[in-house]
Symmetry: C2
Subunit: 203 residues, 2 copies
């Protein structure tokens, strides 16, 4: 089993390959990748070796080939639909942002429980009643869910996502959610970034 | 020089120590830390060894001692003030969230350029005119800045933060900012999380 921290680094390698392609660079060494990403080249080689032999000794990695491979590994070679629960400040910011940033992953449904929010238009989406979730998961083939509701509602929302068939969840609410073993749950917290940046004060 | 990726892991170790303390656990081995964090124990030992000898052979780490040390290393043993630029959807969500989540780091000023936003109350803050930034950085001893404005305005906002004396910046706008060498800039993008989660589709 490949550890989560390896999987979390793959999009960073993919972004770099996309950037290099735009710059017309066709091959790159793990050494050079290490410099550009401020990472250890041995770690990069080890990460990629889990998935196959992509580099050639003395030449490095072929940018286009590695990009294609990383897309396949991350299932980004097909359309991925996401349900975003909570059309509040964070949910609206995330939904507007995702529209522009990621070609293959799209917010297919934006849900809320507040009658004042249901029916609102956010970009190209209309806020739906959360009670419609199960329906939408089926008809839009939704594979992932994002939780952007207050902590007090998060466990209920999480349970509803899972019973509607969603097995991969990105949670923004500050609460430890209980999920069954087969569900992949990732929590995110921007204050962790701030805390690590605090290291650099007074340097 | 310690690499960024080591520094980024430190808040994760700190969170774990805080959690263990609440659970009444007084010591923990790097092995056990590895299991709880889904990380490689050797990596954890190596990370912590950069900063001193914290563990004892056969016993592991003392939870309270390591927590205190990590706080000192991350400068979280004192008050840290942050300027948040952009009182839009994301900025409001971040400012409300930060109020509850992190004891030592607080949003000391929320700024915007839109006259309709200036003067609004968000939690305990009143949205200030961005032109007041330099004043506020001095009077409130602001050490960090968060950019939550559209990409088109982000470079100007970044330049203003730096000329006001802010040297550490967390950027949410989808643009590569140019900053002088002595400024610490970190970009964040939630779609990277989504892309790594896509790996688990169909598993
Ligand atoms: N992880 C981070 O870095 C981070 C950053 C900012 C905010 N947050 C968190 O994100 C969440 C949303 O923040 P916000 O500022 O958008 O809050 P908000 O109050 O503006 O929005 C919350 C939305 O959730 C909806 N909601 C509540 N209960 C619901 C339910 N049962 N089903 C469906 N919708 C429901 C509300 O109607 C509202 O529209 C909060 O939990 C906040 O703590 C996390
Ligand atoms: N990194 C991520 O994961 C992520 C997620 C969501 C949004 N975003 C980005 O965050 C930014 C904010 O998103 P949003 O949804 O809050 O947008 P928004 O339009 O709701 O808010 C932007 C705010 O910035 C203010 N502003 C514009 N120019 C300014 C200037 N020169 N000085 C001060 N304030 C100024 C506007 O008046 C507005 O209030 C966007 O760039 C968006 O792409 C990033």
């Amino acid at each position: 089993k490949i550890s989560n921290s390896v999987i979390r680094r793959l999009p960073i390698y993919l972004r770099l390959m996309q950037l290099l392609k735009v710059q017309g660079i066709t091959t790159i060494s793990s050494q050079d990748m290490g410099v550009r990403l401020d990472m250890n080249p041995a770690q990069i080689r080890k990460d990629l070796a889990y998935f196959g032999e992509f580099g050639r000794k003395g030449v490095g990695y072929e940018v286009e080939y590695l990009e294609r491979k990383l897309r396949q590994i991350l299932n980004l070679d097909r359309q991925i639909n996401v349900a975003l629960i909570g059309a509040g400040h964070l949910g609206i910011a995330l939904s507007n942002y995702a529209r522009f940033q990621s070609e293959r992953i799209s917010i297919a449904g934006l849900f809320d429980a507040d009658p004042n929010k249901i029916g609102l238009t956010v970009g190209s989406l209309v806020v739906q009643n959360f009670s419609e979730l199960t329906n939408m998961v089926q008809t839009k083939n939704i594979q992932m869910g994002i939780i952007a509701v207050p902590a007090i509602a998060a466990q209920d929302v999480c349970d509803s996502l899972i019973s509607a068939g969603v097995k991969i969840i990105l949670n923004f609410a500050p609460i430890n959610l209980r999920v069954p073993k087969e569900v992949v749950l990732r929590n995110t917290d921007f204050t962790t970034e701030l805390q690590s940046l605090a290291f650099y004060i007074d340097e």
